[in-house]
């Protein structure tokens, strides 16, 4: 029912001199209001909107393929590095855990520049005001970049396992565990600090971690590969849960006002 028709009906109802206030009139008026409201709601809902899944799929066209190409290039370099290292078994046995650790950290870090794009190119305001909002867009980007990273991680672990030097648990603790940990840190930072400082903060955190790995390698100290199986798997599950929690929290975020994007 259009506005004019509704108003005409209402006017007709009140045209009678001093309409009697009785339930019959009230019911009819309420009925007219309800009909009008429902028709308005229906006209809004006739326009279908896409869900989060389709948002993720359609983001592949804009950012997905670029990040995946970059990750593929990185994978090629990693493959060459691993292939070279496996040519020298002594080096492989001593440095492999730290190399895997560093590669995993780098893979996790590759999502960070993608997350800072909105601020870098001043798109954040328009993205925040859209239906999906900045939080869900960030979650979509994270899923796309980390999907590629997970595939590369699996490839890296497979290559390492093929070298038959380390057990599966040692490979997982040296690669998957730091990958999940850094992903959790970078995703967690996104909702807790100013978005303008996000990329720099993540870069600083990752640089510190890589420096620590390098020092540990030089000093010949223990690596995550040496973790007891129970502790290592528990840590993996914990980091995975933390990542999932952070992505879920990001997904529900309407804006980054906690981090105050625009002040």
């Amino acid at each position: 029912m259009k506005n004019d028709a509704f108003i005409t009906e209402l006017k007709k109802e009140f045209r009678e001199n001093c309409p009697e206030v009785c339930e019959k009139h009230m019911e009819k008026t309420a009925g007219l209001v309800k009909t009008f409201y429902e028709s308005r709601q229906n006209s809004r809902s006739r326009t279908r909107r896409i869900g989060f899944g389709e948002l993720v799929l359609r983001q592949i066209r804009f950012i997905g393929w670029k990040i995946w190409c970059l990750q593929l290039a990185v994978m090629a370099v990693m493959y060459c590095a691993l292939h070279t290292i496996f040519g020298n078994m002594d080096v492989a046995s001593r440095h492999m855990p730290f190399l895997l650790f560093a590669m995993a950290v780098m893979l996790a870090w590759m999502a960070v520049p993608m997350m800072g794009r909105s601020i870098r190119y001043r798109m954040a305001e328009i993205e925040s005001a859209s239906r999906f909002s900045l939080g869900r867009l960030m979650a979509a980007r994270l899923l796309i970049t980390e999907a590629g990273a997970v595939v590369l991680m699996a490839g890296m672990m497979r290559l390492t396992a093929a070298g038959s030097i380390y057990r599966l648990s040692e490979i997982v603790f040296s690669s998957l565990l730091p990958f999940l940990a850094v992903t959790g840190i970078c995703t967690g930072l996104l909702g807790h600090i100013r978005v303008q400082s996000y990329v720099k903060s993540c870069n600083a955190a990752v640089a510190c971690i890589l420096a620590s790995v390098f020092i540990m390698d030089r000093l010949g100290t223990g690596s995550p590969a040496d973790l007891p199986a129970a502790a290592g798997w528990t840590a993996c599950v914990f980091c995975l849960a933390a990542c999932a929690y952070q992505i879920r929290r990001l997904w529900k975020k309407d804006s980054f006002e906690d981090g105050t994007v625009f002040c």
Partner: protein
């Protein structure tokens, strides 16, 4: 359909950007006038839901927009004062990207993008990279993205910045047509852009609403305060010391028509002039020149 702004306040470290602002915005075009630093952009961001107020709330049809969340953003279109583009985007890419963020299906994206490219005369540059476009064309692209989801509430922050006079007229006509049964709120310090199309206006200064009402009501404040006088050209400099001159027109090489603002006539043979909204703006913001564009 009603947007109710209730006691909105936003403070930064050293300044109160928006100070206890309340306003009820009904369907039609609303102009939000104010000088640079008046708090218009901060207010717009809070209405858009992308900035949380320190106190107060914004309600749409009686429901807090924070509670509405996605439902509000679904019927909302926003053009910020300053916005950028991803460098690799063409005009078409950009509109399709924003259409995805607004939740439009593929068919709807294609239909709306085609429609807006034509309406805003962007068809010829749809495959051109946005970074290579002129400022005015970029602004048109920005306006197009705000209209993609056919919003019921449209918030435009300085939308005509960078547009030439012809584009401004086209933009005004587009908005007037669009605003039927919709809420359109335009913030600007370029008074002529809204003087002819806004049915209601609010004037903002130092974070507060100084006055609000229809254009006629606001212009009525300046009744008896706007004067025209003719004087010799050599007298103009002296006249500028005595009164607030808002316009000078050379009639010939010897005399000048002067339009000035004052509670009472300052110069002999002054005649009362028909006030305009611009006069009110200059009366309230004496340091600002009307039509000066913000950067």
């Amino acid at each position: 359909m009603e947007l109710k702004i209730e006691h909105l306040t936003k403070k930064y470290k050293d300044k109160t950007a928006v100070d206890d602002v309340s306003l009820t915005v009904t369907p039609g075009i609303w102009g939000l006038l104010g000088a640079n630093g008046a708090g218009k952009t901060t207010l717009m961001r809070m209405i858009a839901g992308i900035m949380k107020p320190d106190s107060g709330c914004v309600k749409y049809d009686g429901i807090n927009i924070t509670a509405l969340g996605e439902t509000y953003r679904d019927i909302f279109g926003y053009l910020p004062q300053e916005f950028g583009f991803y460098p690799e985007f063409t005009v078409k890419d950009y509109l399709e990207y924003v259409a995805v963020l607004k939740g439009l299906t593929r068919q709807e994206t294609k239909r709306k993008t085609g429609e807006l490219l034509e309406t805003l005369t962007l068809e010829g540059v749809k495959n051109k990279k946005i970074i290579k476009l002129s400022g005015g064309m970029k602004r048109r692209v920005g306006i197009a993205q705000a209209l993609l989801n056919e919003p019921e509430v449209l918030i435009l922050d300085e939308p005509t910045s960078g547009l030439d006079p012809g584009e401004r007229v086209r933009f005004r006509n587009l908005l007037s047509e669009f605003a039927q049964n919709r809420i359109v709120l335009i913030s600007t310090h370029i008074v002529p852009d809204i003087e002819y199309i806004a049915c209601q206006n609010a004037v903002m200064k130092d974070g507060r609403i100084l006055a609000s009402g229809t254009t006629e009501e606001l212009v009525g404040i300046m009744d008896g305060k706007v004067w025209n006088v003719q004087m010799p050209a050599y007298d103009v400099h002296r006249a500028e010391q005595k009164a607030r001159i808002v316009n000078l027109r050379n009639d010939n090489s010897e005399s000048v028509s002067v339009r000035y603002l004052s509670d009472k006539p300052v110069f002999p043979e002054s005649l009362q002039a028909q006030p305009r909204l611009e006069d009110l703006y200059l009366w309230l913001f004496p340091q600002e020149e009307s039509g000066k564009e913000e950067h």
